[in-house]
Amino acid sequence: MRTKPLLLLALMLPLCVHAGTPMALGAGDVAALLKPPAQGERIIALWALDCAYCETNLQALAKLQQTHPQQIELVSVATDSIHQQDAIEARLKAADMLAWPARAYADDTPERINYLLDPQWGGEMPRTLVIRADGSRQSFSGALSPAQLQKIGSL
């Protein structure tokens, strides 16, 4: 009878590791993040501590992910340094975003990570990347409109 709770705990561990606390995103980690998902789509929500439009955008994407839990994977990526992990996590908590995996830049040239993630991105915030299972990609600058959210959610 003891194995069941243990198994449950083991299953929960990856969740605990991935959600909430931001993990480092270095130049070498970008390829894995951009790899097309096995099904549906991965949404990479880029935001920054100093971006007033970003939190509502993260929340809108979170809501969208909750309506398609099997098809959409959502990862938030703060372009602030992972050194600001505490501030990033506090902001994610305040925005009720701790349930989703979070990353933060770990490179002394953040623009290089911008470029590796999306060469067509000039750093404007927020930025949303959508990577579909068929390898196609789409990106959006600015807080997403209802029409854009609908487009992203129409799998």
Partner: protein, 378 residues
């Protein structure tokens, strides 16, 4: 007497600079400003450990003096992107330094100012430029000195946004306020509003700025600031129709030639990332527009001397940054091809063009050190 305040707003350069890397010890932030005085001495201000630091060089940047702390008492200082310490000279050798001081809450700040009347040996205790002391945004300061020695400070200010929000009224972006000192920086007059609803996260190129037109269309506005009581009129100066409910993080650059032509550079990404050059005609689309650079390009600056026009910018790629230059020899009608004049694998701040005796130099601060780079082809 009119005061040309080129306010370039909307460019916070936030994601750009000054984020320390994992392996990097916590060093000085990269946001800095440089200027060359009439005697050919280069001056550099940046921030480290709560102090704005002033250094100078008499050999065009090859060696820098020991730093002098402008503010004796440490305080928080913004030193990222365009939100960086600024330096300007008065007509009698005064050295003026300004910066934005973060307050406790996110996105808040005070605009700070200090002066030296003895050639940079001592600085006055810093003062807060605006009379409003609410813990809100007053930051992204820009500074200029006019022909009569008056100092103009302009900044992004959220008091009207706060007031509108308190009354549940809509308000897009933030306002721009400015203040003038007519006593060599001993005091600043009560601030006045230049314009409502500018881009809240952008920089001011003292009089050319990114504004919000209609529903979040972020183009640039232009205004001539008057030091006297006359109102300043803001006119739209770019018509890219870039619609974004967000932070562009790219401010414009402006240089005015002896004929009064307004040479400007700005960024927009309506279809794809683009840096443009054009000559502003407030109220209508710029003349002689040239696409300067595309994806990967950011943080352009422009300078003009007689018929020579220089445009520089940072270009990022997978290896790091290239410092790029395009020059014009006919007043901006035609530009040479882009040329790389420096590169670095290190983090780098926005390049800044400096003129001295008709020559152009680029001040480029990287985490590998400060460099002053000549623009002439070798």
């Amino acid at each position: 007497m009119r005061f040309i305040l080129t306010a370039l707003l909307c460019f916070i350069a936030l994601p750009l600079l000054a984020h320390e890397g994992m392996a990097m010890p916590k060093g000085p932030e990269l946001g800095s400003s440089a200027a060359i005085d009439g005697k050919g001495r280069l001056w550099l201000v940046d921030a480290a450990e709560g102090h704005v630091r002033l250094r100078h060089s008499d050999d065009f940047g090859r060696t820098l003096s020991a730093p002098l702390e402008v503010n004796a008492q440490a305080e928080p200082i913004y030193a990222e992107g365009e939100n960086r310490p600024k330096i300007a000279f008065g007509s009698q050798g005064e050295i003026y330094v300004s910066w934005s001081q973060p307050r406790a809450k996110p996105w808040t700040g005070f605009v700070r100012f200090a002066r030296s009347l003895d050639g940079g040996q001592h600085f006055s205790a810093p003062l807060t430029v605006h009379h409003d002391r609410a813990e809100i945004t007053h930051r992204f300061d820009a500074m200029a000195v006019d022909g009569q020695g008056r100092i103009v400070m302009a900044w992004i200010d959220k008091r009207d946004l706060e007031a509108a929000t308190a009354q549940s009224k809509p308000y897009l972006g933030a306002a721009i306020y400015y203040s003038v000192s007519s006593d060599r920086g001993a005091s600043f007059a009560t601030e006045r509003k230049l314009v409502d609803q500018s881009c809240e996260c952008c920089r001011i190129a003292l009089a050319f700025f990114r504004s919000i037109y209609g529903d979040n269309i972020r183009d640039h506005g232009y205004a001539v600031l008057h030091a006297d009581a006359r109102a300043s009129e803001v006119q739209r100066a770019t018509f890219s129709q870039w619609h974004i409910a967000g932070c562009p993080h790219h401010g414009p650059g402006l240089a005015i030639d002896s004929q009064g032509v307004l040479h400007a550079v700005w960024y927009e990404s309506k279809d794809k990332p683009s840096i443009w050059y054009g000559q502003l005609q407030p109220g209508q689309a710029p003349a002689h527009s040239v696409l300067i650079a595309g994806a990967g390009a950011s943080h352009a600056d422009v300078a003009v001397h007689e018929r020579e026009v220089w445009v520089v910018w940072n270009h990022v790629n997978a290896q790091g940054y290239e410092l790029m230059l395009r020059g014009s020899h006919d007043g901006g009608l035609h530009f040479d091809d882009a040329r790389q004049i420096a590169n670095t694998p290190a983090a780098s701040a926005s390049p800044q063009l400096l003129l001295w005796q008709g020559r152009a130099f680029v001040a480029w601060n990287t985490s590998a050190g400060f460099r002053l780079i000549p623009t002439e082809a070798l």
